[in-house]
């Protein structure tokens, strides 16, 4: 159990940070959601025109910088990249669209489940199935090819951009858009959010915490190590919500959620499948981008663009349910994943 301590502790701390951020003003069951918060950031940058989801979420900036600081401290900041960047950009778009169909990344899926939202259980089953498809691909030699060393400047690109964004948000907020209603208007104080992000980013860097990796490693190697982190997160959030009187078991009237099971399942299946092809869930990609991994930085930018597309084309769900365009997008995204999977299988077993 001792060897799992770091990842168990990370799961628990993420759970506590998420509960605290909700208490301090973040939307319900959304203490931290990587997909939702990247979406809100896209809104604040006016990449889309959805007025209810505009806010530069300091949590995302904090996660990137927390990972950067800890990786520098641990001498693990290592600029590298070049492993199919455009494919990863597209996968970032697919993953965020899947998450916005469901209304949450894998992290928020567990936060929702921990608040008693059973729609998230349907999402979890879909997520596990998606991870399973990704594992089948890995067993058949799926690879996005090797990454190579990059310059320090290249590796520092996304962390630097996130610092610039933080400065703009603090000093020149009039350049950005901020929601006055809806989820984008609900947020904890900037410093609390930033501190929460720094803690989560640093701890996840240290422990390699990953929601997709947990189920993936269990299916691939019967290795439960990473899964312990997700279990610990869920346990802490359930207990916390019970203590705070915020645990409401059921499908209906859950905060920022819809009850359309088929699309909750399919949305998270896309996220699971895409995350395994990428090598990690949205949180893990964000953390890796802070370690100088430019492939993950490209993925984060893909999620940013994908989130804006999801609102510009009316693909994202809302509490009212899934849109028609969103349903079409799930089909298209599945075809994209099939193509990316099939084109990157190692048929001859070379290099294996």
């Amino acid at each position: 159990m001792k060897k799992h301590l770091s990842v168990i502790l990370t799961g628990a701390v993420i759970g506590i940070v998420a509960l605290a951020l909700v208490a301090l003003g973040n939307p319900a069951n959304m203490g931290i959601c990587v997909a939702c918060f990247i979406r809100d950031t896209a809104g604040a940058l006016k990449l889309d025109s959805a007025t209810t989801v505009q806010y530069v979420r300091p949590e995302i900036i904090g996660i990137i910088l927390g990972s950067l600081i800890l990786s520098l401290f641990r001498r693990e900041f290592k600029p590298r990249g070049g492993s199919s960047p455009i494919t990863r950009f597209i996968l970032g778009i697919v993953v965020v669209i899947g998450a916005l169909i469901f209304l949450g990344c894998p992290l928020r899926m567990l936060l929702r489940l921990g608040g008693g939202d059973l729609n998230a259980l349907v999402g979890l089953v879909g997520f596990a199935c998606g991870v399973g498809i990704g594992v089948l691909a890995l067993n058949r030699g799926f690879s996005l090819k090797r990454a190579y060393s990059q310059s320090t400047l290249e590796g520092a690109g996304l962390p630097a951009m996130s610092i610039v964004l933080l400065v703009i948000a603090l000093v020149f907020p009039s350049l950005l858009a901020f929601s006055t209603e809806g989820p984008g208007s609900m947020h904890a104080a900037v410093w609390a959010s930033l501190a929460g992000g720094l803690i989560v980013g640093g701890m996840a860097q240290r422990s390699r915490f990953c929601m997709a990796g947990g189920i993936r490693d269990e299916l691939l190697f019967k290795d439960f190590h990473l899964l312990w982190g997700s279990v610990s997160l869920l346990v802490v959030v359930v207990i916390g919500n019970l203590l705070l009187g915020k645990f409401h078991l059921g499908f209906n009237n859950q905060p920022i959620a819809h009850t359309d099971g088929v699309w909750n399942f399919l949305g998270m299946a896309l996220v699971g499948w895409g995350s395994v092809l990428l090598g990690g869930c949205p949180l893990r990609q964000t953390v890796l981008s802070g370690e100088g991994n430019t492939d993950s930085a490209i993925t984060v930018l893909g999620m940013l663009v994908g989130a804006a597309l999801a609102y510009n084309f009316g693909l994202a769900s809302s509490a009212k349910g899934v849109t028609f365009n969103g349903q079409i997008a799930v089909g298209v995204a599945a075809l994209v994943l099939i193509a990316i999977t099939l084109f990157n299988l190692n048929r001859k077993g070379e290099k294996a």
């Binding site: 492993s83 990796g213 190697f221």
Partner: protein
């Protein structure tokens, strides 16, 4: 003994490559990787599968020698 070059491969590929190498020759394997995440993951996989692991660092790269216990 199989030699595996997993440098530049994203997790979990180095572990998958290690597993495939051990399927071909279960006695031992030598794996080259270039990040500590892969070192930790392969080491954990090796211990779970009953292998002894010896890690040597060479600049920014690591050589893992796996031997059946």
């Amino acid at each position: 003994m199989k030699n595996v070059d997993a440098r530049g491969c994203a997790c979990p590929e180095p572990v998958v490559m290690t597993r495939n190498a051990l399927k071909q020759d279960p006695s031992s394997a030598v794996i080259l990787v270039d990040n500590t995440c892969a070192v930790e993951n392969i080491t954990r996989f090796a211990h779970n599968s009953g292998y002894q692991v010896n890690v040597t660092k060479d600049g920014s790269e690591f050589k893992l020698t796996l031997k059946k216990q």
